[in-house]
Symmetry: D2
Subunit: 338 residues, 4 copies
């Protein structure tokens, strides 16, 4: 039984709390911490048998009975708390992104190396644990499409964030496309070497005024020779659009959106299926549980997590390369970003 | 907070236990009972904070702190325990079928009428709470297909039961097609008036020797004039096949199977999607939770359950009419069965 | 080069004329006949190099240069003209149905036997030559689904015929379902032994007043043990609905409707595909050409046509059995009909 | 009745010949020319009532009874013969590409301007007349997806050309992607302003040795602000893969491949649909007929053809910009190419 502390009881912290309670049999939540926990969350936690509810995450790090922490605090605290947790001897699951700056991510890597123990560190790229994307990866790894030659990811949010969110989030490439950048690595089984980005403000001028784009594409080259394309939009009015395709010498594998039901209605107006599930909480709920289950299993069985700190760092480098590409209107090699 | 006791900790009892623990926030399990509970189930129950674990269900009925019971014991005890539970003043969720004999079901109806209280009684036709079937029903009720003229249900198991199971289960019509018979009532919003059944032994001769069929069709007439067709097979080698269509004056609505993922693989061999989810526990898991959630809400809000004792009785009558039709090779009116 | 005469230049006669002109390279139309040919049809025929345009079909039968005739005249003349054509030594392609009465069909069979030559006789069950239905049959024959256990055909017209058409057409079973009755024989590779029909008037009361139904289902038993279900409606407002499924010991094969395009539109209103092609001329056009091409090839290569007079007779017997079943509300064995 | 001469009786010339014979009622083929016509093609032409079969196309241009010519000769003769035909007062349908060099295309534009008559000139971008792509365009033009923000085209051949074909064809961008470059203009209703191309040799090293790529992507910016992505592969082993998506402020519209049938086979190995139609002759056959029908209608009704010389020129400019982008690894503005 792995004893867990959750640092941060906001939206994603609550998701992980419920995931563990309902479907991670070999983990128990020993504590949660949040400087400003909401009353109903606190109530739910107490009803669910979570004994310790702290305002200061330090209490979690200080508890020798806690094996692992889930860092669900604001992004700009991820790296610092990760380092502290490692130094306190805890296994760490850190929400993505670890940080927007590579130097900060490297402090976490350093702490991991310096810790004498074999501590596990997993980054919250939950999409790797989603049934639809994992199925593609499994097919690729099983050789079903031969050598990978091309990867495509389409990722569209149902509604744009408020422009005020842009600054803290780091913008489209760091906040939204980062999942897709990780996905082309995951699906191709190879590293990105060069990117070319195009972007536009077509949905909300306020996003442009905040210095970001709301529509973007990226062309990438992979180390294994494959090409990749990504398209992002901040607003697909029909719902969260999450699709990918991997094409190779023996065939192609692609996925489609998850729907609330398989119902199809035929009338004089056409043959209509349901819209995709609305947004990431609906769409990826089971992947959040699966990633935590995998993290706990890695601790229990002393295995390497499927998404490590190097994935967190590499994905940030690619996102930063995309941003430079867009700013300078030229292809940018990943090795330029350090 | 509704306090629940679960009678029977076998497969379906465990399903309901986990459902309540993970996703029925306004219910708490106060006790479970089973004459021969398995050690790991007992362990899981204790870890999950279930205080009382009894061998005798009478202990549950005797507990004045328990508001509602879930009857998950063997079929031949359903009616008797239902009556006792009602007499003990408990709300009852009873697994389907309530009984194979109408007289027995009527004892439950009598007990309900005699109880001075407004006790809730719900039968475990979980499929009514499944997203794919409920979506059809909602579309029909919203008038999207106009007047219902035709209903079709295809229902096929991935593998046949052992022939030794036939006797206690009541055979294909009482055990398997009963869900589909309920479904044509649910989807059409009307009652069956006449059925004609055909059956064959095409899969396992031992099923025939046990006096049952493994392949069957039913043609039915509904009170509102609609026609209905059902096809059943005990063995669809590609997995659990669960589909329906409702056709009306303004269009048609149909559903398809749920799949493990939306992945599609294109190779020289064709364009291949995944097989349906294997069997009812994988396929209908979320409907089990939804039916319990609905039952608890009905108690809390003093509403009538969506599937009552009269649905349990009517469905058995139709199943018995099908069996007579098959035996006598003629259409049988439901009013013949009493 | 097979020299063809077309008897009857109405809708279906014109379809065959165009089919041969554009895509049957080893046939040439030498003459057409119609007592009241429309001027534009005559003009088109002349422009297309058809030399002889008669009002009397006898002129076609008298022409020794003509090898084969296509009988596209009204149904009640099919059998008589077939006999005359056979006696004149012509190969015959006869539109379906050959006749509504078995005795009449038997006069054609007799004529065929008495003709000393190996004359070809093909009945116009065009659906056997349709890509979607032929694909099912091929898969079944290739053993892909193992032993056939169940067949289902859904067939729905986009709009009902005028009630005045009912009498001459013979009604739903003889005019519309006859294709589906042939289809369950074709797809299962077996003969129907018993049927049970249900019918209703749910669309147009005038159809009921004319003594017919507009909605019908049939349950059938096949000689190989398989069961079959058919559903028919005279009005699917979303367009011509033509689907089938064959289920067996190793799997299932089904088809879907043909659409004008593969376009799918995603908006706030859902994810919408196009409606099926409107009616049989749009939907089955290529099958009309394929059946004539096959007929001509059979003459050229001295092979038996894929659909012979016995198929014409057997299908009528089944349709008549369905009508008796509906009238008497009981299952009817095909051998009762003679 | 428009009188047509076909210059070049190779593969595509024969396609147009058959199209006109079987489905362009207001056109008649008066002559074909080819310096080395194959005997069976000549035979077919004679049987089909084509009176004049020349070896020299000049005979066609000299015939005052001919209204329009279809130029189906080798690419490097397209521009020259177009000019001559215009000067001879003929309407011209010219196969794509008009030429690989813009200067050559401009000679045709000049000839068109100088001809006193309102001659029609149509370029053979047949895909604009394909049901699946035209449906997207119609939906976009009807405002169903609002303002276009993103366009994506995936286009993959089933098998690579022989490397010896690369030189004369102009390579992937001029020969294959040119259709997709036209398509993003057609679907977005806007012009390309800038492109960035990536390419790789992943299928056949001989293609690389011939100086071409066999896998390529293009990122483009459109004048209306939209972004576009194209992916091309010379070898999709599962068949010709032809898909597009247009995304906008009110939704998205996409198409899928055409299949030989709608059959789906479910077995223990999965749920398998058919592979796409094999290659362009199977897939786009009806679009070839539709484009000629449209061309003839434009002559008859004195309307502008849907694809003119300026489309031929613009598409070549974009293809050349892609080639420069790939060579120099930088985005290239279309205005750089003149």
């Amino acid at each position: 039984m792995i004893r867990v502390g959750i640092i941060g009881a906001g939206r994603i912290g609550q998701v992980h709390m419920r995931s563990i309670l309902s479907g991670v049999p070999n983990a128990v939540i020993r504590a949660i911490s949040d400087p400003m926990i909401e009353p109903d969350v606190e109530q739910f936690a107490r009803n669910s048998g979570i004994k310790n509810i702290y305002s200061d995450y330090q209490d979690i790090l200080d508890d020798p009975e806690i094996d692992a922490v889930l860092i669900c605090s604001p992004t700009n605290t991820h790296a610092r708390i990760s380092v502290e947790a490692i130094q306190a001897g805890k296994h760490v699951f850190c929400e993505k992104p670890v940080d927007h700056e590579i130097a900060q991510i490297e402090t976490v890597e350093k702490a991991l190396k310096e810790s004498g123990k074999r501590l596990k560190f997993q980054v919250g790229f939950n999409r790797r644990f989603d049934h639809n994307f994992r199925a593609l990866r499994s097919a690729v790894q099983a050789g079903k499409i031969g050598d990978v030659q091309f990867v495509r990811v389409s990722s569209r949010d149902p509604q744009p964030p408020h422009a005020s969110f842009i600054a803290s989030s780091g913008g489209l490439f760091l906040d939204m496309m980062i999942h897709d950048l990780d996905m082309i690595r995951y699906l191709s089984g190879s590293e990105v070497t060069e990117v070319f980005a195009q972007g536009a403000v077509l949905i909300d001028p306020a996003i442009g005024e905040a210095g970001d784009v709301d529509t973007a594409t990226v062309s990438a080259r992979m180390k294994n020779g494959a090409l990749a394309l990504i398209d992002n939009s901040r607003q697909a009015v029909y719902g969260y659009d999450q699709r990918a395709e991997v094409f190779g010498s023996k065939g192609s594998v692609q996925n489609a959106n998850d729907l609330p039901s398989t119902m199809v209605l035929s009338t004089v107006d056409g043959v209509t299926a349901e819209r995709p599930l609305w947004f990431f909480l609906e769409r990826y709920m089971s992947s959040y549980q699966a990633e935590i289950r995998s993290f706990i299993d890695c601790i229990e069985q002393d295995k390497e997590p499927e998404v490590g700190i190097e994935d967190g760092r590499m994905t940030i480098r690619i996102a930063l390369a995309c941003m430079r590409s867009l700013a300078e209107n030229r292809p940018v090699r990943i090795e330029e970003i350090n």
